[in-house]
Amino acid sequence: MFRTARLPSAFILDSFMNLFDRILSWCIVGALGFGTALPAFADEGLIKMHCGKCHSGAEPKGDFSVHDLGTAPAQESIDLWTASLDLVKAGEMPPAKKSQLTTSGRHKLVEFLSDKVQSYAAQSQHSHEIAPRRINNREFKNSVRDALLIEDVGTHQPTDNLIGDSLYEGFDTHGETLGFSNFHLEQYIDSLRKIVDATILDGQQPESKHYEIDSRQIRSAHTSQNLKRPERRGKREGFDFLDPKELAYFEDFPVVPTTGWYKISIRCTGLDRGYYEAEKTGIYDDDPIQLTVVMGNRERTFDLPDNNIVELELTEWLAAGTRLRFRYPTDGLTLRGNGNFKFQNAIAGEYIKEHDPELYQQVADSIVNKPGRRVLRPESWHHWVDFWRGPRPRIYSASVEGPLFDSWPPARQVALLGKNPSVEDAASILEPIAERAWRREVREGELEPVVQLVQSKKQSLGDVAAFKEGIIAILASPPFLLLNTDDLTPQEEFAAKFSNFLQSTIPDRELREAVEAGDFESFEGVYEEVQRRLESAECDPFLKTFPYAWLKLNDINFMAPDPDRYPHYHRKKVSDDMINEALTFFRYAVEEDLPVTEFISADYSFINADLAVVYGIDDAPQDSKLRKYTFTDGRRGGFLGMGAFHTVTADSLGTSPIHRAIYVMENFLAIHPSPPPADVLIEEPDIRSARTIREVLEAHRSDKTCASCHQSIDPFGWAFENFDPVGSWRDAYDDPTLEPVSKRQRQKRPKPEGIPVDASASFLNRAEYRDIVGFRQLMQSKANSDRFIRCFVTKLLTYANGEEPDDYTEIEKIVAKSAEHDYHMIATIAAVIDSPLFRETSR
């Protein structure tokens, strides 16, 4: 539990790496090798008396010796001090069994440790400065968009060539991990060129064209690699969407020919919703039939009325090269066979068999089995393709008109460069762009190289195109691509960081001016602005990215549940629902300004029909919309009851209390157990054996080296044993010696009785629980709530800074500020932003 004890190498993780999967068993090792040359014991008495018995000698427990503390905290021991403080405060050390520490004795010990930690903080000249870092790809897209005053970087996927950002602990803000190289720079320049080319148009205004699209001119693009089969076309009565994987396109307008505004209208309807049973199609009756218009990387989804023709109208700025596609967005129609659409056709046969036996017989009779070929039975999907009446959108006709322009050059270009930009005025034209991009005022003479570039290109490229080169140079430069350099004043840096934290983009002028005016020097000022911005719906980047990174949602399918045993999870893409559940909960808590502790204390969450199946809920509405749902069994609600957490910490066939314990400790309690020493051999799990996980992990209790750490770790994980690898409740383990059975077999014979789950455990401080219900109560203790707040604060700072903060005292100040406001979300976020750890100022 000592922060320094972890190996730094353990924390470089790439995007697919699941920390909790990395290792089967962990130990807490305070493996610091500087115990030898240190002076006497830390305190005359207290520590020696209460801790020294176990934590001293050649083989101290948990590999931590009180010798390591020295007489007072020093740079190399401060983390041991803060970890000790945390454990003693929580009553977890000294362990109840071994010590007679009274309440007042504990109080004294806490006071002693806390004084020492604080006086260390007071005298150390710790710098909170964070090294500059490259902006990540998310920030790049948003920032370029805002610097160029456009709605997005363009529909022609101009940033697809960027090198993906590697994650550090789930976060994409870690400077060291992001890196910068000539490859990055080259891709940035290429990408910027594509964006600028679709923003600034040169030459004559292109002529607009009108395309009328008849249903027979709509085609379905190939989904498989087999290019030999002819593409399906629409029929006279309309183009129907069958396979959700299918992308349809207009024969005459597959790709946008010229950049500009386009008006797209589509006459369409939704057909046959609920015609087949939802159980068969996997599409809920209450979900509307939808149509998604895919314009490169921009998508618009519409709900279609049933059997009523509607005319959808879109007006969009589309870049040349954008592919225009249409699809039916649903996670259904995958329940048959291996999930491929063709197998669904059998549903039509079953329907006809029940409702029109005569027709069924006719079709069955007409089947001619060719000699030597496979005999196809009447129920086989092959015979029913033409009878399919599953829910589907239909397009009757459509039209596209464009490129259209409000003026020439287009207004958006005029806003950027003016009507007739001349390179003579390059400095004044480029200055506002540079000011936005560089997050500060442009200094005297600073634009000179860019102006020279623009002027030198006039001859070969002409005025307008020459400006494009200048804009690319402004956006490929260090002041744009690097965040947090000394190039900015503290005020400019704060504005940039603030904006980046909430909106992942460059600061707007208003924000920069307010910071300059000193509006955000106080907690109150920050609070108001955070509140205002969160209410303005501008903070989507924060509301999505932060919880996604914090909860490691990126890893949810790194070790996906076994597809044979958990078909619902795969067929209905339940991981998407789980991720959305977590994100929706987070957004709700922030928007309602709930106390931070609500994340673990809530008895509700946000579920839809797919999640209801996993959670065993039978009174949820039958659709895909997430709605608030209150659980009455004390088992679920908040993060601890979410399938996202249970899945991300599970293996595909089994669960491990250790993975889950580590996840809880690191992400909810700010405790960092260290991996076991390199020479520990970890036993590979063996599903062939009938031992339960508890028996397998018995070694942790019998082996002393393991036990001294695992008795502190494992109790944080046992409580979740009732949740299987997808987070469904189980009272018993499946008998692991049985081979997985097919669905048909499962239906035939009753599920064999398994070994009952024992989800009880006790902590070193004698606190114990019988199951998840008891554990959830323990998590709401004062000590654990404090840890949770501290953890939340730490994670926010990790997101903001890219690095985990290590100044315990400053973090405690934020927690105290949050406490003053009853831990409400906005106040806590504001306290983080107001902290020297965010501002990067020394105290």
């Binding site: 890196g179 000539n182 720079l185 600073e446 490929a476």
Partner: protein
């Protein structure tokens, strides 16, 4: 590029005829002696040990199930047991495969966590058109790292690899490309001159990252200049149409990539190549594989799952085998032996075995390269300690013509002589 893709995909039925070597004027001027090349193939999860490691040491070892497709090469390969980079268990350490150094510890080493292939590429420099070529399907496994400690990403699509290595531009396209290179060069010029101002105020903390930026500008400038020079020389022509007849499976995609690498070696477009088998790739086209690669590593020793895992691993080896066969069928011009005898082939992973998350006992073998191969050897020293994998890398470096006797965590060199 879309147009070109179509052209290639449509021009089916062409044969994979390799042009005669004498006509290779389009590549670099032919070296008068045979160059030494390096091919490394890696995966992120190691190998199921019982199926990978042979059961008996020595030159006469029995080929193991996973390596069965390499039986014909038995006399020209060395499998080494008990090597590692002394890393603790868990995912995330395998990215140190080719350096023995994790990014977090890179500052402590003069070449940071630069990978062996990039070290070789730097040694070759601009003698060839492409100092190194990396390819994978889907995504990489973070195997290649440059001297700045930055990841070098593989090309992840056979078509893109084709365009990169072999697509010749029309004179008009060349002109456009040249103009673009020049325009980009002017932008870099501008960035360079802006830089002084930014750097003036920089504190010590800032300087590192700014240096990284400045180095990037300089390297890109050099690279653009090199590209402009090469622009005039035609690339060799290569027909990949054959690889896309019928359904495209990951097998023929990998085969296409390996073939392109082999041909790039043959025409001296490059001398250093890496191929990666990523974690997220869908291996289900392989017979008998239904689960994810990662899922199969956590098989709980269930027989079916182990079988699936071994199928994936054998598949990886089989793709490599096919390439080695090809290299061995081509005589090395200006020298004795086949191209394989002049190509150091390294297979391995920075992870020992995913099932236990162990990073000990890395599955590693070397083939070809003109070594006096030793069959299956025990990497342990007399006291039973594992051999640092960097010892092998020192040997490979020496074979590659780099006169060094240490590399990162090496304690010596593996005894593997070459003629």
């Amino acid at each position: 590029m879309n147009l070109n893709r179509r052209m290639v995909l449509k021009s089916m039925g062409g044969t994979l005829a390799l042009p005669l070597l004498e006509s290779l004027s389009f590549a670099a001027p032919r070296p008068t002696t045979a160059p030494t090349r390096f091919l490394v193939v890696g995966n992120p999860f190691g190998m199921h040990p019982e199926h990978f490691f042979p059961t008996d040491f020595g030159k006469d070892f029995t080929i193991s199930p996973t390596l069965r497709s390499l039986e014909w090469l038995k006399d020209r390969m060395t499998i080494i047991s008990h090597t590692d980079h002394n890393m603790v268990s868990g995912h995330g350490r395998e990215i140190s495969f080719l350096s023995g150094v994790l990014p977090t510890d890179a500052q402590a080493f003069p070449e940071k966590n630069m990978s062996l292939d990039q070290l070789f590429a730097r040694h070759i420099g601009s003698q060839v058109r492409y100092p190194s070529v990396g390819a994978a399907l889907d995504s990489g496994i973070r195997m290649s790292w440059t001297a700045n400690g930055v990841e070098k990403l593989p090309i992840t699509d056979p078509q893109e690899l084709f365009n990169h290595l072999f697509l010749n531009l029309s004179p008009q396209e060349k002109e456009q490309r040249r103009e673009m290179l020049q325009r980009n060069a002017s932008i870099l010029d501008t960035l360079g001159s802006q830089f002084e101002g930014v750097k003036r105020n920089a504190s010590r903390l800032d300087r590192d990252r700014l240096d990284q930026f400045q180095t990037s500008i300089r390297e890109l400038e050099n690279s653009l200049a090199d590209r402009e020079t090469w622009l005039d020389r035609d690339k060799p022509s290569f027909d990949i149409a054959d690889h896309f007849v019928g359904e495209t499976t990951i097998a023929n995609k990998y085969d296409a990539m390996f073939d392109m690498i082999a041909y790039a070696f043959e025409t001296d477009l490059t001398r250093v190549a890496s191929i990666e088998f990523p974690a997220e790739l869908n291996y289900t086209d392989i017979d008998g594989v239904n689960r994810s690669y990662h899922g199969c590593t956590h098989n709980g020793r269930g027989e079916d799952l182990v079988k699936e895992l071994v199928s994936i691993e054998s598949f990886q080896i089989a793709r490599l085998t096919r390439c080695l066969n090809k290299l061995d069928s081509i005589r090395e011009p200006n020298s004795e032996g086949t191209m394989l005898d002049h190509t150091i082939v390294l297979f391995g992973s920075g992870m020992g075995y995913g099932g236990t998350h162990s990073n000990r006992n890395l599955p590693v073998f070397v083939a070809g390269g003109g070594f006096k191969h030793r069959g299956y050897i025990d990497g342990r020293d007399n006291s039973g300690n594992n051999m640092p994998l960097c010892n092998l890398y020192v040997t490979l470096m020496q074979r590659f013509g780099i006169e060094r006797d240490s590399f990162n965590t090496s304690t010596g060199a593996l005894d593997l002589s070459f003629s």
